[in-house]
Symmetry: C2
Subunit: 454 residues, 2 copies
């Protein structure tokens, strides 16, 4: 770049794969990147641009339009696949969008405005409209010719869609079928095409669509309207992006954070602090309820010196078993293995699991509590065997409470139409914390003489 | 099935897509499923079988071989793609494997034994060896003819690999290039093929391979040996399976569980109880350390009545902020955004974050603690303003400790060659629990007169 040698720059860009070129350009700023893109031929330019990080794409658009070069940028934006174009314009400032859209060719402009109408997170918002469409009456050779003509403008040539005059979907023809029958050029494609095509609706949730494609091992899935008219397709790379984004989103939710727009290091420090701060604040107030509960039972802790020792143990045992159950059920719901109708099975499983794990921990807790309380400090008496039994009895109840709540709360959230991942580990743990303290003191009052009146 | 009507059964199997047929057969047992598969033609049979759940596949193999029908089963097993065959044989009992392998055709047998040599979790273990290979000197038309001949035996025709006589990889030719140049049948493929091919080694970790493919939007990635000889390819559907499995694995680890072989409801109850029990047990002993810590400081809690109120609050504030940091860093490592070299940036970010979040919670905690301790029960005196300041000071220190530990521990685990997801929320929380209690009491001793001598 430093030497201004356009010829060798162009050679460099053309020799490597677009994804590699984009990698090499990671260190360049917006202006420098544009210098490189400018010398490449338009087709390459769009490909390389497509591999930039979203932040870099946005910065490039802002820089160019800011410099009054909106015309050059609109050419590149027009050449982007329709779904990527819409994604990009979503991230760009509104006044820049207003400047760019009128500069797009009429066809692309209409397309863009239409796709922008689908809410984020729906199948419509991630689909591309550039699809190979074929008529039913073609032969293999005619279909290949037709595809080779349409090839430049579409995102994939591996699936072609056979439609009628109203663009209603009749069948799916894979490039595999065509290549396999390359030596029978006259065979009609209507004999080869798959008529039983799995489709999704434009307003379907993108996560559900991704799971469908993943289950069926499709390369792409067609998006249709209520009249089964073909609107576009969602391709395997978009599906992978959705699956990755959802995995990160669920992980963040499960640790008590809202999903981020971009990665950990790329997110601005202040944005991250606000996101984390809000949730930490909410969880703080949940935890504050434990302080109220403890205040209410202050007398119990005051008169039985060793009760305080096991507060964190009781709380964390319940929280951990609850987190396990919640995570298992949330993953089951995400993978489509568990559905709302399974709630009885989940309840039965978690009840049994709670009893098993609880009994195990109760046994461990009994021994530990007995050993620990033998070290009574001066002026205190060690509790009796029956008194120590408060700890195991509490552990059993708290663990059962944890597994059952952890198992059922995500299902309840799903039933209410909320993301079950919201019923995440810290929230389940927060609920169990308070339940744990109440159970602990109630059991203690029942089992330790002289405390009952409390 | 009830009516023994083979003809209509076969029609049913042939009319629908294989994935749909497999869905319809979900309710059938192993014997019934075999009845249906038997009437289908061999190609269909293999496809439908490929869509069964792994458990169903295994059950079918066991049932058939158990009934002495190993020959029929070996035919189906031989027709499976090599990678799926190896996966299946991994799940099947050893004596059944020993019965089946000798019945496979010599080529398939060799392949299977070779692939079984790659450890689970490596690129070699998920690759398929059935790939279209082309010589460099072909034209477009010759390549299409060659592909149409090889098409039946391979997993994908969308990427063909150009190799020399030693099977060394020279280039990649996509079906897209071929179809686009369908009207120039004489063009040499050496002009069209991509020479800068991204490859992976057979012993590479499957998760890293999946991230590479996802980053580049590939349909498949070639697996080569140290001499760049083509061993096989990993296709997009395997990549999606790996990504899904890893997401579930990380989620389970982050809730303190070992990864499961299959889903929540499908895993045997006892297996699940053992898995969860072991981890709950480990976490229990970590939590038990808090009881020891509290015992050591018993006197402090005895003489300052209100300290006990805020134990859960202090612990959970540290645990929650630590979980957030750990999850962000673990996801960053998984997505490839964060690397070991970033540890200074992570440290700086988390320190700053801890100070910010800690100050916020300290302010909230100061007010809450003041209000709460005004309700002193009979016979107790409310603490002074300075004494109450123990709570905010502790919160600040605990939150900083949480964010810094949460941010750095996954990096440390990565550095040690362990899965950073192991440094999961409950473990970070467990460490912070103990640190929280120690900090709490130390701060209290420093700030409350008469307690210092402890």
């Amino acid at each position: 770049i430093a030497t201004d040698d356009n010829e060798s720059l162009r050679e460099f860009v053309d020799a490597l794969m677009p994804a590699r070129v984009a990698e090499f350009m990671e260190g360049l700023d917006a202006r420098e990147s544009w210098r490189v893109l400018e010398v490449a031929d338009p087709e390459r330019r769009v490909e390389v641009f497509g591999y930039f990080e979203p932040e870099k794409q946005t910065a490039l658009v802002h820089a160019l339009v800011g410099d009054g070069d909106a015309a050059a940028m609109s050419g590149l934006v027009a050449d982007l696949p329709a779904d990527d174009r819409v994604d990009l314009l979503r991230d760009v400032d509104e006044h820049v969008v207003d400047e760019l859209i009128p500069l797009l060719p009429i066809e692309d402009r209409r397309e863009t405005l239409r796709l922008r109408g689908f809410p984020e997170g729906t199948a419509g918002s991630v689909m591309t409209t550039e699809v190979v469409c074929l008529k039913e009456n073609l032969s293999v050779a005619e279909a290949l010719t037709e595809i080779s003509k349409q090839a430049l403008g579409v995102e994939t040539v591996y699936y072609s869609y056979v439609v009628d005059d109203d663009r209603r979907l009749l069948g799916l023809l894979s490039a595999r079928q065509l290549v396999t029958h390359y030596l029978n050029p006259d065979q009609p494609i209507s004999e080869l095409m798959e008529r039983d095509v799995v489709t999704v609706l434009a307003m379907d949730d993108q996560e559900a669509v991704a799971e469908t494609v993943a289950d069926y091992d499709f390369l792409a899935i067609p998006v249709v309207d209520d009249n089964r008219r073909l609107l576009g397709i969602i391709t395997h790379d978009d599906i992978i992006d959705v699956l990755r984004a959802e995995a990160t989103e669920d992980a963040l939710l499960s640790a008590g954070m809202a999903p981020l727009e971009s990665g950990y290091l790329r997110t601005h420090w202040f944005t991250l602090a606000c996101n984390r701060g809000v949730w930490i604040g909410v969880l703080f107030f949940a935890a504050l309820l434990t302080a109220f509960a403890l205040l209410r039972y202050e007398e119990a802790f005051d008169s039985v010196w060793w009760l305080v020792l096991f507060i964190p143990l009781v709380i964390s045992s319940g929280g951990n078993s609850g987190s396990q159950s919640a995570t298992l059920v949330i993953r089951g719901l995400t993978d489509g293995e568990v559905s709302l109708g399974d709630w009885r099975r989940v309840l039965r499983r978690e009840l049994l699991m709670g009893l098993t794990l609880g009994t195990t921990l109760a046994a461990l807790g009994f021994v530990s509590a007995w050993v620990l309380t033998r070290q009574a400090p001066e002026g205190h008496t060690a509790p009796t065997l029956v008194e120590v039994a408060v700890v195991p009895a509490t552990l059993l109840l708290v663990v059962v409470c944890g597994t059952v709540c952890g198992g059922l709360l995500p299902l309840m959230f799903q039933r209410l139409g909320l993301d079950p991942a919201l019923m995440s580990n810290p929230f389940v743990a927060g609920i169990i914390d308070i339940a744990g303290i109440v159970i602990y003191v109630t059991v203690a009052m029942a089992m330790i003489g002289g405390l009952a009146g409390g």
